[in-house]
């Protein structure tokens, strides 16, 4: 893992600025390219308007809103249980992970806590949805770079994880399994043994992707040294998750805050990378998938007996107050600022989604870059449209 020296990073940033200015003297008339709402590279309906000079991007501006469904307005007219149904469609790949922070915020307001068994199962399902999310990212990375085959590997191994989630919760990837105070019901019999086998398969998948894709020289030459984001710029824009850890910031919400989940029961490692380039971001997500497999395997042996749900009144009225809970979602830090006035439904829910901040750095990151690198940087930042537009 050759470490890009500081000199290289600074020279890259300087070259970015220089390239953009270089073309002014040649006064070549630029072309405005519209990577429109329908584009194979954007995972959905993100539109990027960029002004090109030849193949180089002089100015780029994403235009969002094509998937804006008005979540924060809808949460104000729904009761608490209904909001979880709505909320797990924000980041539609790791969707169990969306419900957990909202439910924890509601539980914090009601000063109740899920029983230990529910906490461990929540953490296991959280990590399973992370594996499902990031494994598709690893496959999709290949398609962005032009290799068609890795995405089929990713979908094949993702199906095992989806079978597990469906076995436990009934829904492939919109489970709606979380309740305020615990879980909907318990794990089916034999689920734990089956999960262990699937984790072995997922580790093999990570090894295959590592030498099929990450070991490929063309892939490395396309990813290394592209889209370098230094640590303080990342913090300024509020990048979170693997994008932040790839710039060398050792910050992971699963370890750095005490929250009613069971991450502290397993020992696992937070990976960081000093380079901050596209390769680092993808490499960290690959290592995090392996860590998630490790967490799930360890937690599976420690699922305590006991009830699955605490005593919660049938009609839930969350007492008045405000609470902020954020967890380390597959895309980054997702948090909910829930304001409640003691009614059936929340008064206001501010949804802090990870991709919104991750994509706000695109105008800074894309200046002075070649057209193919737009796709590389976007692929490595890894966003989901529902997360950006809410």
């Amino acid at each position: 893992m050759t470490v890009l020296s500081d000199r290289q990073q600074l020279s890259y940033i300087a070259s970015q600025a220089a390239d953009a200015r270089l073309n002014v003297e040649l006064e070549t008339e630029g072309m405005t390219l519209n990577i429109g709402p329908q584009h194979p590279a954007t995972h959905g309906t993100l539109r990027i308007i960029c002004r090109l000079d030849g193949e180089q991007v002089v100015w780029a501006e994403p235009s969002c809103g094509y998937m804006h469904r008005g979540y924060e307005k809808l949460t104000e007219v729904r009761t608490f249980p209904q909001v979880t149904t709505l909320v797990n469609r924000i980041d539609w790949l790791g969707s169990f992970a969306n419900e957990v922070p909202f439910i924890l915020a509601a539980e914090k307001l009601m000063e109740i806590e899920a029983p230990p068994r529910a906490q461990v199962i929540r953490t296991i399902l959280f990590e399973l949805s992370r594996i499902a999310n990031v494994s598709l990212f690893l496959g999709d990375l290949g398609v962005q770079m032009g290799a068609i085959t890795p995405v089929f590997l990713a979908f094949r191994d993702r199906e095992y994880v989806l079978n597990l989630i469906e076995g436990a919760t009934g829904g492939r990837f919109h489970p709606n399994f979380d309740r305020i105070g615990g879980l909907k019901d318990d794990l089916p019999a034999g689920w734990i043994a089956e999960t262990k086998q699937v984790m072995v398969k997922l580790r093999e998948f990570c090894d295959i992707i590592e030498d099929l894709l990450f070991g490929n020289e063309i892939f490395q030459s396309r990813m290394r040294g592209i889209g370098i984001i230094p640590a303080d710029v990342a913090k300024d824009y509020g990048l979170s998750g693997a994008n932040l850890r790839a710039s060398g910031v050792d910050y992971d919400l699963r370890r750095d805050q005490d929250i009613a989940m069971a991450w502290d029961k397993a020992d696992w490692k937070v990976w960081t990378h000093p380079d901050g380039d596209s390769f680092a971001r993808c490499w960290i997500r690959l290592q995090e998938t392996r860590e998630s497999c490790k967490i799930v395997e360890q937690l599976l042996d420690q699922v305590p007996a006991g009830p699955i749900m605490t005593k919660v009144p049938r009609i839930i009225k969350v007492p008045e107050g405000e609470a902020w809970v954020s967890t380390e979602n597959p895309l980054g830090e997702m948090g909910y600022y829930v304001v409640s006035k003691g009614d059936l439904g929340p008064f206001r829910v501010k949804i802090r989604s990870a991709s919104f901040n991750n994509i706000s750095i695109v105008p800074w990151a894309l200046t002075g870059v070649y057209v193919p690198d737009i796709i590389t940087i976007l692929a490595s930042l890894y966003f989901i449209l529902g997360d950006i537009d809410r």
Partner: protein, 202 residues
């Protein structure tokens, strides 16, 4: 094609054209929301491989596509883009509306920025209910679309007056037209969309 317009194509040739159109459906890679992941699972995963049905997800531009699968929420800002992409597709084109967001606005029925159903924008052939529908449901939708294409009356389609009419409907209309006046003429069934699992189509 002249022959097709005047509707005098021999039945066997129509059957051959319909069969070839139904077995080589090209669809271009375009997903909107969570249903796009289930569509991706249907198009791009070995378990629900859609290429074995003859649907080839290779092209990336609407110009080379035969049918489009609207998978996900169509918001008001996205509606003109959907309409434009529909018009860019060459003529014998079909559309599958996948997921309850595309069918009728789904869980966002009361949102201020979601179009309640994509059929307000483009004509839809098959509706696949579900949020998100399983990849098998999408495969069933595709099989129903293929059945529909096999029984389609190309002449009516090329004349472009009534949208989709099946061969049986045309023969029924011709039989009625040829029959003596005494028989009451029943109008050709207009376009009634198929809902997946909604019973066999003729």
């Amino acid at each position: 094609m002249g022959l097709v317009d005047k509707g005098r194509m021999p039945a066997s040739l129509t059957k051959l054209f319909n069969m070839s159109r139904s077995y080589s459906l090209w669809v271009y890679q375009w997903g909107l929301a969570c249903c796009a992941i289930e569509m991706g699972a249907a198009f791009g995963s070995p378990r629900y491989d859609v290429m074995r049905l003859g649907v080839i997800p290779l092209p990336a531009s609407p110009r080379q596509a035969d049918f489009v699968c609207i998978s996900g929420t169509v918001t008001d800002k996205m509606a003109p883009a959907v309409r434009r992409l529909w018009e860019q597709m060459p003529e014998p084109k079909y559309a599958i509306s996948m997921g309850s967001c595309a069918n009728c606005g789904g869980p966002y029925w009361d949102s201020y920025s979601v179009t309640k159903g994509v059929d307000q924008i483009i004509p839809i052939d098959v509706y696949v209910p579900g949020c998100p529908p399983r990849p098998e449901a999408l495969l069933e939708g595709i099989v129903l679309l293929q059945q529909r294409i096999k029984n389609e009356d190309m002449a009516a389609k090329w004349r472009g007056d009534e949208g989709f009419t099946s061969l049986q409907a045309t023969r029924e209309r011709e039989r009625v037209a040829a029959a003596p006046i005494s028989e009451p003429a029943n109008p050709a069934p207009d376009r009634e969309p198929i809902v997946v699992g909604g019973g066999p189509i003729e």
